[in-house]
């Protein structure tokens, strides 16, 4: 059993920006850490806080209860830029389990999936309908159903694409390193003929 074995429901924070790069998700000055713990405190540090460290009250993730909302909704190309895995570490440490966006940066999507963070890409009309619902009713609950590859709000639903192997790993709790270690015989055979 993992979080992904069956559908779950939660509220969302709407961050309706395109091209949110990983330098915004976690600025480089927080990358001197040698562990992956505690990075949620620095999530969107420069968008969340004034220069003097006081929170900006109008930033979506600073609204009361934001930390208990497991879904983040963003625009196109979320997580573009740097390959830093500190970005999904910061998001999951903050309490986010799924990101719904129009599209994702390739490296970010790969990193997210290795950390139990589900990237859900939905297209223009579906995204617009969902964002409008969240703007009008921010307390709306969304249901994430990975086995069915569905995102649902009430009677509305949409199907999202996900790599079948990534879906299998999330649902079954399989880690990729364990899977790769089982390929040792094939790797040895490859190395014997590889120049």
């Amino acid at each position: 059993m993992t979080r992904w074995t069956s559908p779950w429901t939660g509220r969302a924070t709407l961050l309706a920006a395109d091209d949110v790069d990983t330098d915004q998700i976690i600025p480089a000055r927080f990358l001197k850490a040698t562990t992956r713990d505690g990075l949620g405190a620095h999530l969107f540090a420069d968008w969340r806080n004034q220069a003097d460290g006081t929170p900006k009250s109008d930033f979506p993730l600073n609204r009361p209860g934001a930390a208990s909302r497991p879904i983040l909704v963003a625009g196109r190309n979320f997580g573009c830029g740097s390959s830093r895995e500190h970005a999904p570490w910061a998001l999951t440490d903050f309490g986010i389990s799924a990101i719904v966006a129009k599209s994702f940066g390739d490296i970010f999507r790969s990193n997210a999936l290795k950390n139990g963070l589900l990237p859900i890409a939905i297209d223009g009309d579906d995204w617009a309908a969902m964002a409008q619902t969240l703007e009008q009713a921010p307390e709306t609950e969304l249901t994430v159903d990975l086995p069915a590859r569905q995102l649902r709000i009430g009677t509305w639903s949409t199907t999202f694409p996900i790599d079948p192997f990534a879906r299998f790993c999330l649902i079954e709790g399989v880690d990729e390193l364990g899977f790769l270690l089982q390929q040792e015989a094939a790797i040895q055979a490859f190395e014997e003929q590889h120049v």
Binding site: D23, D46, S110, K114, Q183
Partner: protein, 484 residues
């Protein structure tokens, strides 16, 4: 089992490299197991990967295929690399120490501070001859695309994947799509590879290359030096493509011949014969194709907060309400607010506080020569700070052998030790909030060069022109008679 290495359909360069590195073929329900020839690591994205290995009692499978350097968080102040000054920032020092300990523990070659060949990871790989045509190369760094300039399939990975490669020398990957980026014709004098790639990104968009690998082709690409091709491939990720390649040719082979880690003697001849089979076959299928006319290119500069918000330097700053698409109007408005720029006004003449020449994009000897050509006989303008940060100790020595450091220092610039420096602003080299920089680096994101920093990305020549005038300046106006 390895697949048939010579399928009979015409293949792209990337497809040929891909096919030669398949350990287990891709299926619908599982990605391919792809073999990695060369794994580059640095201090920022590797500590958690080594910790993951230690937690499972695993060893590094192929230390001989792993190369380490310290570049991101180290100081670049003169003297800091000779071991005479400790790293002042305790977190950065701990991170660099951790890399040193991990490399010693697992038998990995480390080109760290104090090493005669230390440098930025994407500078030393090609320079030392580690990077070779036909290889698969990965690093926990998105600018790993740089190494594609020598005809290698090179891409950035996350720290979990760093642990996968350390433990198994393999990655789970889906085959990418192929995109041809043709740069036709000849570049006008004074137009650099940086201008070409900024024009490509402006045309393709920051997400246009997602899911694709670029191959840069055409006469203008063939005419570039390897240093220039490295600049071109470096910024592929800024158009969303994980990798960008140039087919290996005689320029590539001349560059590699005699480098420390390049094959020698009979091994060179064998390698050369294999490398010559790599270029894309006639009739190879591209999923997408874009073409740029080199002859029409001008010096490029960014005005906004993504590398795609770039324009010819003599254009006016865009007016958001005249853009056709709502999302672009919003994004450009917000970017111009952050940059405190007026829509419709020229960017030329805008005051500049700092000029940074460096980074894995533009810190090689060709880049330093381009900047020096403009600075020679002039001075850095009053009130402007210019940092010149060579990409490696070898680049630094080569520049000093030509006297370029005298040109920079004599003009009032700072001549630094190698490192990532002000590109990522992790090491104390940074802008003050609100300051403007013309920077030869690769990202103009909000806060990238320090909180509140405002970045104009441009070529080394355009950066140097801003340093000596104190304003955004078309380098062509200062270059009369200075083309080599």
């Amino acid at each position: 089992m390895p697949v048939d290495p010579t399928p009979n359909h015409p293949r792209t360069l990337v497809e040929k490299i891909w096919d030669r590195h398949i350990v287990v073929p891709e299926r619908d329900d599982t990605p391919a197991v792809l073999y990695v020839d060369l794994h580059l690591i640095h201090e920022v994205t590797s500590p958690q990967a080594f910790a993951a290995l230690a937690a499972r009692g695993l060893r590094v499978r192929s230390p001989d295929r792993t190369i380490a350097t310290a570049d991101h968080s180290i100081p670049t102040l003169p003297g800091t690399h000779a071991g005479t000054l400790p790293i002042a920032d305790s977190a950065a020092r701990a991170q660099v120490d951790r890399l040193t300990t991990n490399c010693r523990e697992y038998g990995i070659r480390l080109y760290g501070q104090g090493h005669g060949q230390q440098g930025i990871v994407h500078v030393i790989g090609p320079e030392q001859g580690f990077t070779q045509p036909g290889m698969t190369i990965v690093c926990g760094d998105s600018h790993t695309s740089t190494h594609g300039a020598l005809g290698a399939l090179a891409f950035g990975i996350g720290t979990s994947e760093v642990s996968h490669v350390l433990a198994t020398q393999c990655l789970l990957q889906r085959k990418p799509r192929f995109m041809e980026v043709r740069i036709e014709g000849a570049l006008p004098p004074g137009i650099a590879a940086k201008d070409v790639i900024l024009a490509v990104i402006a045309q393709v968009g920051v997400a246009g290359g997602a899911g694709h690998v670029f191959e840069y082709r055409g006469r203008a690409v063939e005419a570039l030096t390897v240093d220039q091709r490295l600049t071109l491939c470096n910024m592929s990720i800024e158009a969303g493509a994980r990798a960008g390649l140039v087919a290996p040719d005689d320029t590539t082979f001349e560059y590699l011949s005699g480098r420390a880690e390049a094959p020698k003697g009979a091994a060179w001849d064998t390698a050369l014969a294999r490398w010559r089979t790599l270029p894309s076959d006639d009739g190879a299928r591209w999923d997408r194709s874009v073409t740029i006319d080199a002859a029409r290119l001008a010096p490029m500069i960014t005005y906004g907060t993504t590398p795609a918000m770039a324009m010819p330097i003599d254009w006016a700053i865009p007016e958001p309400d005249q853009l056709p698409n709502h999302a672009d109007r919003q994004a450009v408005s917000q970017a111009l607010r952050y940059m405190a720029l007026q829509p419709g006004r020229p960017l030329i003449g805008h005051p500049v506080d700092v000029v940074f020449v460096g980074s894995c994009t533009n810190s090689r000897i060709d880049d330093l020569r381009d900047a020096a050509r403009l600075v020679r006989g002039r001075s850095v303008a009053n009130g402007v700070r210019m940092l010149v940060v060579p990409g490696s100790q070898e680049v630094k020595r080569a520049a000093e052998a030509e006297g370029l450091h005298h040109t920079f220092i004599g003009a009032g610039a700072e001549w630094r030790e190698p490192g990532c420096s002000m590109c990522i602003a992790m090491n104390g080299d940074m802008l003050e909030p609100g300051q403007y920089a013309v920077s030869t680096s690769n990202r103009n994101f909000e806060g990238r060069q320090g909180r509140g920093s405002r970045t104009f990305l441009a070529s080394p020549a355009t950066a140097a022109a801003a340093a000596v005038t104190g304003r955004v300046t078309d380098p062509r106006t200062l270059l009369e008679g200075r083309f080599s």
